[in-house]
């Protein structure tokens, strides 16, 4: 069997590389969205934001 889910001595390195990529990018996306929401909320609280 070949493919991403094959077994083999080197597969943990392949899975690890994809896992690291996923974790880093997922963290970046989640933090970016959370920052966006927080900034928008603070603007709204100070009455600086137009209704959108």
């Amino acid at each position: 069997m070949s493919g991403f889910f094959a077994s083999g001595p080197h597969m943990p390195f392949v899975w690890g590389a994809y896992a690291v990529t996923f974790v880093v990018l997922a963290a970046l996306v989640l933090l970016s969205v959370a920052d966006r929401r927080r900034a928008r909320r603070e603007l709204a609280e100070r009455g600086l934001e137009r209704r959108r």
Binding site: S2, G3, F4, A6, G8, P9, H10, M11, F13, V14, G16, A17, Y18, V20, T21, V24, L25, L28, V29, S32, V33, D35, R36, A39, R40, E42, L43, R46, L48, R52
Partner: protein, 241 residues
């Protein structure tokens, strides 16, 4: 430091246009990015065959190489934004640079870590002080330096300028990364896609690589837009404080 009324208005003009543009394209861009990532991952993990020499570890390339390209292109963007801040005082440039640097740093980190995980089975070492690896590590530190410098001053505009100067000085590292594999005897292999005479990779592996690159490029652009919106709001909050 009290910015003049005129520069304030100038500051608001372009970012306001940017926000209208960004609000219009971001939702569609996010959907296209998600679809492209799904297709790219399918090609990278299922469709593409194992390499005849490297076996399944070649699949690491589909995240490693796009991350390397994007972290380098992202640095060129950062330096371009730095130049437009220092030369033309473009108000949006500084905010977009602030928004971009952590994205570039993330891709540089992914490149370094996945490269390390590829190096262990293929070279027998997680790390070597090879010219390609070392110049790539320097790129990561340049990104960290940019993030730190831009936040090092109470006056955010001074931080913007200091970080812009760093981004221009660090530009010298990009050709060093690109040509390190030609100028020195490196453990890292030479270029096999962007080379004279065309790519030296079979299309069964080149196509998934290019799809993953396109997908991650879309993610990069999406994040730049989203994070620039945040930086515009933050600057407005600071101006109002």
């Amino acid at each position: 430091m009290a910015p003049s009324r005129a520069s304030n208005l100038h500051f608001l003009a372009n970012p306001a246009r940017f926000r209208r543009f960004s609000a219009a394209v971001l939702p569609a861009l996010a959907v296209v990015t998600a679809l492209a990532l799904a297709v790219g991952l399918y090609f990278a993990t299922v469709v593409s065959p194992p390499d005849y020499q490297q076996g399944e570890t070649v699949r690491i390339m589909f995240v490693h190489v796009p991350s390397a390209w994007l972290s380098m292109a992202g640095y060129a963007l950062l330096a371009g934004l730095g130049a437009s801040l220092l030369v033309w005082r473009h108000p949006l440039a500084a905010l977009m640079a602030r928004a971009s640097a952590p994205i570039g740093a993330s891709f540089a980190a992914i490149c370094l870590i996945t490269g390390s995980l590829w190096g262990r089975p293929m070279w027998g070492a997680y790390w070597a002080w090879d010219a390609r690896l070392t110049s790539m590590l320097l790129l990561f530190f340049l990104y960290l330096g940019h993030i730190a410098l831009s936040r090092a001053y109470d006056d955010p505009e001074r931080g913007d300028r200091a970080a812009a100067i760093l981004s221009l000085v660090g530009l010298i590292n990009l050709p060093i990364i690109k040509f390190s594999v030609d100028w020195w005897n490196t453990l890292h292999q030479p270029a096999s896609v962007a080379r004279l005479g065309g790519p030296a990779i079979h299309s069964s592996i080149l196509v998934p690589l290019l799809i993953m690159f396109a997908a991650l490029l879309l993610l990069y652009v999406t994040l730049v837009l989203l994070r620039t919106e945040t930086e515009i709001d933050r600057r407005r909050l600071e101006a109002a404080a």
